[in-house]
Amino acid sequence: MYFGLSEEQSFFQDNVKKYLEEHATIDNIKHITSGDEKNLSAEIHQGLLNLGINGLLIPEEFGGLGLDLLFAAVVSEALGSGVGPTPFIAPYVMAPTAIKHAGSKSQQENYLSKIAANEYRFGVGFSEFIGKRNDAGITFSDNALNGRAMFVLDANDATHLLLADEKGQIFIVDAKSTNIEIVKLTTVDKTRQYSEVICENLEAELLENSLDSENPINQAIDAGRIMLAADSLGASQIMIDKAVDYAKERKQFGRAIGSFQAVKHMCAEMAADLEPCFALVWHAAHCHDHSPAEARLMACHAKAHVSEMSKGIAKKATEVHGGMGFTDLLGLHYWFKRIGLNRQILGSPELVREEAYKTQV
């Protein structure tokens, strides 16, 4: 019995963390998010591709590494720690998972091998299947898609998109088609891309095994939710580390502010809230591959619970920094906003807990 990360997983995670520490420095993040350094983001993405992040979940027969979701979760955690300004969850986790579960043999072979070879990059738009806002929604008829998908992940530089209709059927579309309009959405989190996608008689290929089946899309959403939880986990741990360091350094009333119980108790509460989240996220990722009966419940709770804990940590860690925490100088807000987006994307806590309940009736 062993509950924890393997040496390979820890090693890979350290490599991603180190790479981001060197290349995604706060200065670089500032350039990227203010839009004045378009190439930097692509360079960082390329650097991570060189580490192999695109092939983690793709079976070896299609040129990937054939690893478990837990491996992807530790990468996602590292991306959260380093506010990695690069696509990951949509192209390298949700898309491969969806295609593995929903694609016919030939669709799998075609698309998975091209993701592994970095020829295709997928954006993913499943928001309306989880919860349709206002007049958004995609319909499929006569081999074509019509309608609007909101908060499509990583659509900007994608070659293809995965979109879903309200029944959870999954479609592959060409992101460069003339019948598609991709509108950039500006959110508080400028380290990642979110788009609105408008389709008008857009030619689409149905992933065959998603015909009248919700299982494949749920598999992809579960995987995506576990990644978002892992991202918030990494981001929260960094915020705690920074708050604790600051409280040890900063002096007021002649002593380090960390010696005041009002401050140290906030730090202890953050640590106590976050520590069990590591085990929950790892366990959920493990169940996704090895314990189908618990997989959905664990994925939903990992997403909802880590979102709740992280929200509190983002607030408290900022408060421990006092006025400095509120400034752009320290850049603490990049983690604060990353946690904010992770909470709402692929289902806010209330929606996800409702799904958790439904798996038990």
Binding site: F3, G258, E275, W282, H301, A304, E354
Partner: protein, 407 residues
């Protein structure tokens, strides 16, 4: 990640399951008057608690790693087997072994630091449930600041003479013995002036007064010592080493107060209750506000269960860094259990306030009782605020509060 236990443990589980099947309806001839054991069933084999305790030891289901010469099973410590035993007993509702502070705290302390005579004299009867212990630590003026305790022990000839008062002493009225922290070196610094003494409770000069708590049960006592004389040899460790001896077992108590598996059993029980109870003609579980609160708590308990697996794994595979992970258990476990019991009261509304033997009481009033009882556990054994100091100072390396002169 590998959550399988392996074939040896599957056999062990099967053997245990047939044992539990045989004994789960067990009823005790010495009734339910023992506060340290489970209540037992109504049919099945009949025996005394002490006999049951012996059967458990013979089979290696209790006191597994305690040497045979001291009344234990004499096997290798096996963390996974201990976990399987706890899980199977709980699943089948088979009465477990007696617990209490003698078994949970004194026995490990003696095994580690007791003299051979002390081990011979005390461990066996304690394990067999024939000798019950209480813990004499806290005093009216020594709570969170336990090391400032003032109960005095003076060596006169070959006897300790003890004077002072202890408080929050659970089970003192049933106990034969007390393991007690006493100030024996009044001139030494406060942590270095304490000794760990073993006091027979029938010694003249001991007075026990029950202390009724908010649950209206007398869970605690005050114990008064007036010229209580015990043999000089009734000391564990050397004079002035009592603080270290006590600390060897305090950590043990903190970790075991609110195991997440027990909390999850209560979550499941609450879910059943919410399917049965109705509000405006609809089961409570169909009211989205209550359902969401239940799901929030279920997520928290799942996180603690996963965390417990991580800690279990760290015991089996030394080297994993779980320092903070262990420190948070008392704080998070007791707070979560209190929150869960409180949720049950909220979903029942007015019915949740019923108590004791009232008509319309649900689940024997356990929600209301445990809600209050766990507030006691949040305070006892190091309050939540003390736990946060420990996590911040020892776990996160944050600076201590400057000491007040003379404290």
């Amino acid at each position: 990640m590998d959550l399988e236990y392996g074939p040896e443990y599957q056999d062990f589980t099967k053997e245990l399951q047939s044992f539990c099947k045989k004994y789960k309806e067990l009823s005790f001839t010495d009734g339910s008057n023992n506060p340290l054991g489970s209540s037992g069933g109504s049919g099945g084999p009949k025996m005394s608690r002490s006999e049951w305790q012996k059967i458990l030891i013979e089979n290696g289901y209790f006191a597994r790693s305690v040497p045979k010469e001291y009344g234990g099973y004499g096997g290798e410590a096996d963390i996974l087997k201990s976990r399987i035993i706890a899980a199977e007993f709980s699943k089948s509702s088979t009465p477990g072994a007696m617990g209490g502070q003698g078994i949970d705290m004194l026995v490990p302390t003696l095994l580690e630091m007791g003299t051979e005579e002390q081990k011979q004299a005390y461990i066996k009867p304690t394990l067999h449930g024939e000798m019950i212990w209480c813990q004499g630590y806290s005093e009216p003026n020594a709570g969170s600041d336990l090391a400032s305790l003032q109960t005095k022990g003076e060596l006169v000839g070959d006897e300790w003479v003890i004077n002072g008062q202890k408080i929050w002493t659970s089970t003192a009225q049933y106990s034969q013995m007390c393991f007690c922290l006493v100030r024996t070196e009044p001139d030494a610094p406060k942590h270095a002036g304490i000794s760990y003494l073993l006091i027979p409770m029938d010694t003249p000069g001991i007075e026990i007064r029950p202390l009724v708590d908010m649950t209206l049960k007398a869970g605690f006592n005050e114990v008064f010592f007036t010229d209580v004389k015990i043999p000089a040899t009734n000391i564990v460790g050397k004079r002035g080493e009592g603080w270290a001896v006590a600390n060897a077992t305090l950590g043990h108590e903190r970790g075991s107060l609110a195991p997440p598996d027990a909390t999850m059993n209560r979550v499941n029980m609450l879910m059943r209750l919410m399917k049965e109870e109705t509000l405006d003609g609809k089961p409570l579980i169909e009211h989205p506000i209550y359902r969401d609160r239940l799901m929030q708590i279920q997520g928290k308990v799942l996180a603690q269960q996963s965390h417990a697996l991580r800690l279990l794994s760290a015991k089996l595979n030394p080297g994993a860094d779980v320092k903070i992970g262990k420190m948070i258990q008392k704080l998070t476990g007791t707070e979560l259990r209190h929150e869960l019991e409180g949720l049950a009261i909220d979903v029942m509304g007015e019915i949740g306030t019923l108590y004791e033997d009232s008509p319309h009481l649900k689940n024997d009033g356990t929600w209301q009782f445990i809600y209050m009882y766990f507030l006691g556990l949040i305070i006892g054994g190091g309050t939540s605020q003390i736990q946060k100091n420990i996590i911040a100072e020892r776990g996160l390396g944050m600076p201590k509060e400057p000491k007040v002169e003379g404290a």
